[in-house]
Symmetry: C2
Subunit: 711 residues, 2 copies
């Protein structure tokens, strides 16, 4: 057993090094400075166990295993963008980047070797290797008690995975940096992780509007016509995304505009901009022999190709410079707002296989395994830096990520399309410093369409991705008014959403977050017990049984005050776990008592959203697109329920990085009861109104928006 | 690049060693002597490339990679019990033992690091590690031509995986033995592999009868009653399998009879035997603390438990002796005929995870990774040896296997249940020295029931596994006569099936085999072209397209003369790829011209089976159970079609290993046309009739069995 030497590397963050790790890791690649000031302002950190209980041993086959103690009822969350479950306790997670996370192995677009416990701590393994974590899925002989061995024939308590008392993590041969993030609560550990990685990402304001991606082979004219249709039909939209066809060649890509479809890219982007749209460009990493940068990148690339294209080694400055020069000249310089990075995750599982192999070799010395783990991160960092160098923010999409990504303004997406899994991914991303878009593509029915659109409007990136099927928000005419309503509601909620992101940036609190952030393990457990019903073992279809505890992975918080409980096709009612206190239906105004499970009914025109009694939600008008610098709109401060309470408004120019140099402010909206039994509000902050708002209107004791004024 | 030194280790088998492999491997574990005499009698071996074109290099991350050349249209088959595809070309195969082969990763119950090419050679990596094979799924930059990079937007020939010119196999760090098996044909390479591994398995005659597994918690009385029901209802049956409930405790197991359900095991087995039934016992590897052998096995076990039970290290003589002593005394000594070894494959993928981890450590020095790869093989070997020591054959089931398994009389099965996948597994098992049972459990409908029963009756092990749902062959009354008919047809075909297995044993030719054994790559290609139709890319559901070539993985040969083309629920007709020559419908007598694709219709009462024109199929009566030593039945020699031709009959006592010492014989049944335009048959062999048969009856120019005489 080797010694672990722990140092408090930042307030509430302990570090130990095993072996002799070298080369790029997620932390060193992102290279963000820990937000030590914000860390220091948090409640004092606590770990539920002594550091002496964390051990590293050489196990079978010479494998280095890190072991951490687990309590009996402890739950573990995180490990990245997981689609199949929220509580990872009892699972072996193989955290490899993979574009087909269709089975519950741990492999996914964004596997993050970081987990948090509901006992209030987090564990990060900083390595570019694919890590295997046994999160209570292994049972040592030395710790097996006779009474653990039940008889499946007779004991109804039998389960395939015994409660193990420890998590075991396989450390890569060369070693790795280990980080422990203190609580006391789960949310504190996540905050410390996010702040240690540089704080959360703050998107530009337009990023929180509605996005639309046009069909792959659309021309400039067609894209412009599609954008104008949004304005004509009174659907807000901020971003038009172009898909593979904007390239002269794709699969592999040239990064050059197709001369036929986009004869004058600058004029195209200008026209879009004039109309209030940003242009986002799809791309992937593999460079076509027909790209002008192919020859110069070739000696800086891996020794395997993908679709006949180069896999450049962007850990090299020289390679980055070629990419950056080309992208600056061709895209960013003419006003493109960001990228959607596809295909950076690799697959062996679809009908066809594509990716450089793990044994590929890159000029920097990285192998294919590590490059694949880092590739998505590398592109996110590279494009973000490109915009940063022009004092511009970006907001984009990427299909792969890893640890240390909190500060990157990129949202994950997937070719998967199960609505429930998409909601679960939204929950799970909050544990790992990730953002996720449950993008809408097509729908089986108007009902499916509406339910998906409702969810995406309450997500980090509200996007209709019509690349493959050309759907529009009005594709189901009977549902179009509902869709318009929810896109407009998202626009009205921009001040609230933007403020939630600002807290992500400054305090590390995820803007969208799963229920374990909002309720204690005890509350969770008692709610579970109420809902828990064990179906009988199905001995033929699933020999090990399908018994599972409800995980409340189908509802989530936005900011502190709002809880979203989407419905999916076929549902007209559902259970909702409401934290303690009273809650008000955002639109219905209905009052619910929290501290347990309620049932709500919601017709197709409603997604159940709940606001804490007393909360003040800052809202604005249902603008056709987000506020641009210098533009103003009215600020509406909506007080829900009957309790005294408050809310916050963050504001800045919404577009540049000047906020990093202080060009921003926080305003507090507080509501008190008056002696007459009414309410009065106080709006205070750094001198006058936030620059983006033309005036403040209060609404008190709001019993729900009731469809007011957004159409 | 390291040097490879090749030696011809057996006729037509070349060996090279990379690194310093040590410890157990599949070949050393099985330890079967190569059948060098049979190998020497084969056509001279040929490889389609020079051995100098096989190389080993150190690639990215210090990985040792073996590379072999691939031709443009070459197809690769094998890699074990694969469910998702037959042609493995273009795939990366991760050959790890895994109980949930639901995705096409290469992981499966029986991953075998052996593949064969339709160009006529085979490649085996003899290691206990989980091997990764890139079977043409990687493309080196140095070999990428500009014209390989197509544009997916415009070129309809675009595909996600480019045709790579080489296979790359990752060799474990410590090295491995590499074996090349010569052709000239694919079938020759497979034969050499099987003969090198000791020849194929010859089951006892009763093994080829019908099997029934009773519900898990049945008592001795209930099991006997169930068996008698077979006799009463006139359904043949040879084996009754007991499931977990025969143990006093299972999950983990005791290996001890439950005193309540089986108060007198000896009497139970005797009663079964008297009635013509054999008893097969379900078990798994993990030993309960309540088993009397727990304490003595504990120091001989791995340092992790499964379900609270020990995972013994059966590479140790001392552990094997404990297992063997207990099994001899409690089961084999009282007449038990064999085992069904469950749960030896491990899972991280079901709703619950169970298995010792890769970093487990066993007293022999094996780690969990290698033990998991070898565990199924180890049990198969151990139980086979146990029966062998009493000069008895066994035939059993196992859920995990690996390379070098050809000589083991064990049939694989799975918790999966897709009928098409089950047929594909039957095809694929033939490339890797494996046997597979497409066992029947339940059915959605009478039609599903009949189609599954038809398939299983033409498989290595015809079993109804009612452990979970208590189904019987007569569960769908309207379908019962059809089921009875096909079980009886299987009984009538016993001489043909048994002879096909004898060729497996002596010549290494799989009794059940996929179409590439029977037709050349050219015939295959021209048939494919006829059937090939490319559906359009579905850009939303599967971004990489679902284009796939027909693989003819839904039909197979039994012996040389019989082709089976099952239908699944919902089908009333199908395409069949018929090799050149004329074929006669086994039952219908219809004549078909081969050398291409035909369409056949088959109502629910028929499974399309075709016999080569001129073939002589040895058959017998539809006995209620297989012939026991000393028993006799009539032998029927059925000549199909109009050509002159022949068939073979192998015979021995069907029960002991005396055939290994010469107590067996081969008889030839040849048909010639007479001058009068009729036919005459000659039955020749070692002195008189085969001992199992009371007389020989010829039937000439048979136009199909037409339901004669089997009811």
């Amino acid at each position: 057993m080797a010694e672990l030497t722990w140092t408090e590397t930042a307030p509430g963050v302990w570090k130990a090094v095993i072996g002799f790790p070298d080369g790029l890791t997620p932390l060193s690649l992102i290279g963000a400075a820990p937000r030590t000031e914000a860390l220091a302002q948090m409640v004092p950190a606590r770990l539920p166990f002594g550091l002496d209980l964390v051990s590293v041993t050489e196990a079978g086959g010479g494998r280095l295993m890190l072991a951490l103690p687990l309590e009996d009822e402890e739950k573990l969350y995180g490990t990245g963008l997981q689609f199949m479950r929220m509580n990872q306790r009892g699972r072996t997670r193989y955290l490899r980047v993979n574009s087909d996370p269709k089975q519950d192995t741990g492999e996914t677009h964004a596997p993050v070797p970081f987990y948090v416990s509901d006992r209030g701590y987090g564990v990060l393994i900083d390595t570019a290797r694919a890590v295997t974590m046994h999160l209570g899925s292994t049972m040592r002989l030395a710790e097996t008690r006779k009474e653990d061995a039940l008889d499946r024939n007779r004991d109804s308590g039998w389960r395939a995975t015994l409660r193990s008392e420890r998590a075991e993590i396989r450390i890569p041969e060369e070693g790795a940096g280990i980080y422990l993030f203190g609580g006391p609560a789960l949310g504190d550990a996540v905050r410390r992780y996010n702040l240690f990685c540089g704080g959360g990402a703050l998107p530009p304001k337009w990023g929180l509007g509605f996005w639309h991606r046009v069909p792959a082979m659309y021309s400039a004219e067609e894209a412009i016509a599609e954008a104008r249709e949004y304005r004509k039909r009174d659907f807000p939209c901020d971003v038009i995304g172009l898909e593979p066809g904007w390239h002269s060649r794709s699969y592999p890509v040239t990064y050059e505009w197709d001369a036929e479809r986009f004869p004058d890219p600058k004029r195209f982007v200008d026209e879009m901009t004039d109309d209030g749209f940003r242009v986002n460009l799809w791309e992937h990493p593999y460079v076509s022999p027909e790209s002008p940068i192919y020859d110069s990148l070739k000696p800086l690339s891996g020794d395997y190709t993908v679709w006949g294209g180069l896999a450049p080694d962007y850990s090299l400055n020289a390679a980055r410079e070629i990419y950056e020069r080309q992208h600056s000249a061709q895209h960013i310089g003419i006003g493109v707002s960001g990228y959607k990075l596809d295909e950076c995750d690799g697959s062996e599982l679809t009908n066809n296989a594509w990716m450089f192999p793990a044994h590929a070799s890159f000029p920097s010395g990285l192998d294919g395994e590590r490059m694949r783990q880092l590739y998505g991160l590398m592109f996110q960092k590279m494009t973000t830096d490109l915009f940063r160098s022009g004092n511009r923010r970006t907001y984009g999409l990427a299909r792969a990520s890893n640890a240390a990504a909190s500060s990157l303004p990129c949202v994950l997406y997937s070719d998967l399309y199960d609505h429930k899994q998409f909601i679960r991914a939204l929950c799970n991303s909050s544990f790992s410093g990730l953002l996720w878009s449950p993008e809408v593509r097509r729908a089986r029915s108007a009902e499916d369409w509406v339910r998906r659109m409702q969810t995406v409007c309450f997500s980090p990136l509200a996007m209709l991705n019509a690349w493959g099927d050309g759907t529009k928000p009005w594709s189901f005419p009977e549902a179009a008014p509902i869709i318009r309503h929810y896109i407009k509601l998202r626009m009205r909620l921009q001040p609230y959403l933007y403020t939630a992101f600002a807290r992500y940036r400054e305090e590390g609190i995820p803007p969208f977050r799963a229920m374990p952030f909002a309720i204690s393990p005890d509350e969770f457990a008692s709610a579970e017990k109420r809902r828990l019903s064990l179906p009988a073992l199905n001995t033929t279809d699933g020999a090990y049984g399908k018994r599972s505890e409800p995980q409340w992975d189908d509802q989530y918080m936005i900011g502190d005050a709002m809880l979203v409980a989407p419905l999916v096709e076929g549902e007209v009612e559902r259970e909702v776990l409401l934290p303690a206190g009273s809650w008000i239906g955002l639109e219905s105004g209905e009052r619910y008592e929290g501290g347990g499970v309620i049932r709500v009914r919601a017709g197709i025109d409603t997604i159940p959203v709940f606001v804490r009694d007393g909360a003040v939600i800052p809202m604005t008008a249902a603008l056709p697109h987000a506020l641009r610098p210098g533009e103003q709109a009215p600020l509406e401060l909506v007080h829900f329920g009957t309790k005294e309470g408050e809310g916050w408004v963050y504001d800045d120019d919404g577009e540049t990085l000047d906020y990093e140099r202080g060009a921003c402010g926080w305003w507090k909206a507080a509501v008190r009861k008056t002696a007459e039994g009414g309410y009065e509000g106080e709006f205070t902050g750094p001198g006058g109104l936030p620059a983006s708002y033309s005036g403040v209107k209060w609404r008190f004791a709001e019993l729900g928006l009731n469809d007011d004024g957004d159409e």
